[in-house]
């Protein structure tokens, strides 16, 4: 698949993201694929800042910023208003971080998906509250340091399986995607656009600042997350039909962890435990997809 996304650039340079920010890479692929007939709802997240201060904007589309926990509800209202104006051309999108999706925004998301509201909800997942300075979220993975899981209190709980939760809602379409696999990401954006009803994209978006790694590793780390099965690429249709888009060949999780400062305290025994957890999740996913 060949795509010239640059011609359709809807993200200005001069945005306020950190160097190597995966959330900006995700936004560029997303918006340049979806196109300009898009209204975006942004609940509190890194992108509340990245989009720029009044009176500037780094996005060339209409944007409404909103309170942290309201993505699903705000988009519902925006869609309803546009529908009442007979505007069916516009695609409504929620662009939220993991905190605004997994945690504080979960109720509004669940409500919107239960009502099968007609919009695309994108969670760009950087696995912690990065905008407020790296505090743990329910998306923070087992083993990670954050400012609220410091020292020996590194997170010893699993990352919430948000895809599973949404599948249980029988959502029309849900897919994981990664900034390191653009073709797969673009395919999923197009597919999401072609479907009516509630749709969810879970995009793995590395955060060099919060993950304590060099900015040039952003895409490499995102690729390794897929290759190690830590973040598998798959789709779920109508909550039941699972398809795995990429099947890696037995990478060891350890390599992925060694490159990130947030995991530097982990010891061999922890890697073994994490490997078990990853393998277990993968087996379960393969079973669902079979």
């Amino acid at each position: 698949m060949r795509e010239n996304l640059k011609e359709k650039e809807l993200v200005y340079s001069g945005h306020l993201a950190c160097a190597g920010c995966g959330a900006v890479i995700a936004m560029r692929f997303f918006l340049n694929t979806l196109g300009k007939d898009t209204v975006m709802v942004i609940p509190a997240c890194c992108w509340s800042i990245i989009a720029g201060p009044y009176p500037k904007s780094s996005l060339k589309i209409p944007v409404i910023h909103t309170a942290f926990e309201t993505g699903g509800a705000m988009a519902t209202g925006v869609r309803a208003g546009l529908d009442m104006k007979n505007d069916t051309k516009t695609t409504v999108v929620v662009w939220a971080g993991d905190g605004g999706t997994f945690d504080i925004g979960f109720q509004a998301l669940s409500g919107a998906v239960e009502r099968d509201e007609n919009f695309i909800y994108v969670c760009y997942d950087n696995e912690a509250y990065m905008n407020t300075g790296v505090q743990r979220s329910s998306s923070t993975p087992y083993g990670a340091w954050t400012t609220t899981t410091p020292g020996e209190d590194w997170k010893k709980l699993r990352k919430k399986n948000i895809m599973g939760v949404l599948a249980a809602h029988r959502i029309s379409y849900a897919a994981t995607a990664s900034i390191a696999y653009p073709e797969d990401l673009i395919y999923k954006i197009k597919k999401a656009k072609s479907i009516k009803g509630a749709r969810f994209l879970h995009i793995f978006a590395s955060c060099p600042t919060g993950w304590k790694m060099a900015s040039e590793l952003s895409v490499k780390i995102a690729r390794m997350a897929v290759q190690t099965n830590i973040f598998p690429l798959y789709e779920i249709e109508n909550g039941t039909k699972y398809s795995i888009n990429f099947k890696p060949k037995n990478y060891n999780v350890k390599e992925y962890f060694m490159l990130q400062g947030r995991f530097k305290h982990l010891k061999q025994e922890h890697f073994e435990k994490i490997q078990e957890m990853v393998d277990d999740d993968w087996r379960l996913l393969c079973k669902k997809a079979s």
Partner: protein, 385 residues
Amino acid sequence: MKRVLEGSHAAAEAVRLARVKVISAFPITPQTHIVEKLSEFCSNGSMDAKFIKVESEHSALAAVIGSQSTGVRSFTATSSQGLALMHELLHWTSGARLPVVMVEVNRALAPGWNIWTDQTDSLSQRDTGWIQLYCETGQEVLDTTLMAYKLAEAVFLPVMVVLDAFFLSHTYEPVDVPEQESADKFLPDFEPAFSLDIRNAYTLNQLATPDVYMEMRYDMHLAMEDAKNRMADIENEFSKIFGRKYLPVEPFRCDDAETVFVTSGTITSTCRQLVNDLRKKGERVGLLKIKMFRPFPVKEVCNCLKNIKQVAVIDRNFSFGAGGIFAQEVRAALYGFINPAPCVMGFVCGLGGRDVTIETLTTIYKKAKNREAGQMESVWIDLKK
């Protein structure tokens, strides 16, 4: 056409007449009859509107902010706990300069669970940038809700139309329901000053640095001040079409009065009766009903109370550590403007829906007339031992 309607249904009729396009609400007693009636209107085609049945009040207001941001007239209704849950988004609505209208039914806040009337829920939202209008009758609820859209859309601030639980929300009264044609004449289609539209890309509600935030807030302040004048014009226009008028404050038999009650909501009706009874006995007593609480009608309150000796403010609400909320506002309004100021006494009664009867108000009148209450304290009436 005159119909016998509940206060709740009067509110719903006004929303229908305003041709609201998007409604979003979450059920809470005693607001339910409003949203049930509106669901019926949307379902049977009486209204061309979308009713979003959300999973919380927080989401109800979020959805309404979303729809109003696309430039369509939007509505929500709530009460008590629901309003408290909306608190964050109350600020959001006014800060986003959205002319949303909400009907809020005054109900006590828990714990303990109490579904009966009490004004502390709405009054504790007084600093959220919403215009607040308190109603006494079903007719006033209908008329105020229609006028609320006109006012909100004139100043780009949201309006809360407030009514007492049960005493008004569930009480049937004759209500003149205007014809759609007259309602349309009074309230034409909404023309948004800005909206989310792919043909003209705006960013709304974005990051505002110290360099710009203060001016944004000052603009809201100016809009709130402007609401007083706009409301006067709107009431005149409304009165020309429908022959009814309410005003921000309504003085009743105050002209030669020595003692004046200050009331809001349905207690006003009981108080009117008492004032008439006392006047027959030669007592020099009057009543000042406050309809507009935000913006607070300082000038009108001062004008009415300037020659009064004793003022008895009735508060069906309480701010712990400060006192009855209307009493505080009245004192603040008079301070520095009227010299010597009347003796303002605050009386707290009827919390959690306890009946405020003629007897209750008579007790208050005696205490106020004889100045048996201090000016710095709140006197709690009908407390049980």
